[in-house]
Amino acid sequence: MTTATPTVPAGTQATGKTTSARRVRKRLNSPVATLVSIVIAVLWTIPTFGLLISSIRPENEIKTTGWWTFFSHPQFTLENYQQVLFSGSSSGQLASYFINSLAITIPSVLFPLAFASLAAYALAWIDFKGRDWLYIAIFALQIVPLQMALVPLLKFFSTGVTVAGVTVLPAWDLVDEQKFAQVWFAHTCFALPFAVFLLHNFISQLPRDLMEAARVDGATHPKIFRTIVLPLITPALAAFGIFQFLWVWNDLLVALIFAGGGNETAPLTVRLAEMAGTRGNEWQRLTAGAFVSIVVPLIVFLSLQRYFVRGLLAGSVKG
């Protein structure tokens, strides 16, 4: 993880490889290899493609013929989206849940991002006793499955903390949309170990000279953090931001437990899972609904893919 040689933060590291890679370009491009890779690519794409095509076919068509008949009898409609997003609660009302997903996700990304970068800086560049042990402890918390925390954390929200009959913290007693706060809290807690680990990987690799020069100039830690570290680790922040965004937006378990199922707080995933259970044959709604929930992460993912990949590699390989 921590290398002795000062390296410029991620991003510039990859450039050295391209020239050597070019020399090895002569490569097995046998027909078999091409064929196998095309087969895999098609296998991986077709299910999503079928869903997309289905979501724009009329209800009657979806329910009676396969989506592949679309190409021989193309019939196109946006009715499914109209229905599933805006009409009554029986058909989805997903627009409402879409807003919930947004309201849950944005703070759940920002809080761990800020707290973890502060913590990672302290663990990397402030000298204090027991620093390494603390880092290892936080690192180790990554392996605690969040299932271990669910029951007591829910109890913490609903009944507060009582030690020997004395109420230390009252119950949160949140209603309706206030429950968002519970979900933010839970997501922030669960994200921190990985966030600290990932950002520590980047921050600890900043050049030591730079830090020492700043210290000699009389900069305090908060100043170094704000003016030097934060701008340099933007790619890492982006990487974790995307991670956390995808994780929270796509999460079902935490939302199910801490947000409840109502349209005041439940995100898209909870609603879709419920629809898949109770309206399993309403494919016109399920297909359109699934696409509504997919489209935002897909856009985020495609536009910021290189940050995501960089974060993935830093998080898994270097660790």
Partner: protein, 348 residues
Amino acid sequence: MEFDFAEEQPKFLMLMYGLIAFVAVVGGLLLLLDVVPAWFARRHEAKLVAASASGAPLPRRPKQREGLFALFFLLPTLLLLAVGLVVPAIRTTLLSFMDGSSSHWVGLRNYGWMFSEDSIVRVLINTLIWVLLVPLVATTFGLVYAVLVDRARFEAVAKSLIFLPMAISFVGASIIWKFVYAYRGEGDQIGLLNQIVVSLGGEPKQWLLESPLNTFLLIVIMVWIQAGFAMVVLSAAIKAIPADIVEAARLDGVTPWQMFWRITLPSIRPALIVVVVTLSIATLKVFDIVRTATNGNYDTSVIANEMYNQAFRYQQNGQGSALAVFLFVLVVPIVIYQIRNLRQQREG
């Protein structure tokens, strides 16, 4: 009830409160860290001036300042980790030795229940199948694909296609695949799988109702999502193999097959281990897929699902907690294995 934007306003208000809280907490902390040390520095200077004026020995620079800084930088993280993770994990462990309503100690009864109740044993077996198959199959697909498209003409596009499912939620993926598995009693099939079966002359089936086949069909969904992860990490590892090794091997006239087994595979072994370990842990905790696709019915349930059902549907906190603890116990050896591996790499 039509969609009414006015009804959504409280949510935006709540979101705004959340953002204000964020700015207040983070901004306040940074401000505090800026102002307080500056104040201390001024006091220290004043002391220095006073000391030099009176000729007394100069007071030493206070030593604990660094530690104090660290404390404030770490405070939010440590507080949240304690409240949200450490204390709950300890309490869950304790709860697992208590009864359903957490009022009496029952010793190891919940753990005994786990291994004696037929339906739960089934759950454990299912989880075992998941953990054995998903890492193996997903890594194989990812590796094969990474090798095949490496430096091919449309590498970037080809990789994106496989990688894309990673952006899709498990819930969305489950719906996508439920549609592939869809079954219709009469008329045309609308599910791709049944259509293929029918066009090959077979009988359409209700795939997700047939145990044990359904567990494998759910595993397909997980593999579909995770192969992209394996592919990206392994592809990066393949590209990091030094060019001269590959060149030398080629000069020696090795076949592509030999190249893969003798050069590529040994070179990317560390990355391979990381992928398998990461996938194993992710698979152990799988919940969304089973819940969305079958809700754990028809013998498809896994530990995380059963834990949810016990704790939050049947209010059996003791049994739910015991399952959670067991999940944790299963993760530990995998992680220890990885840590030992990393240490060996660093030494060797």
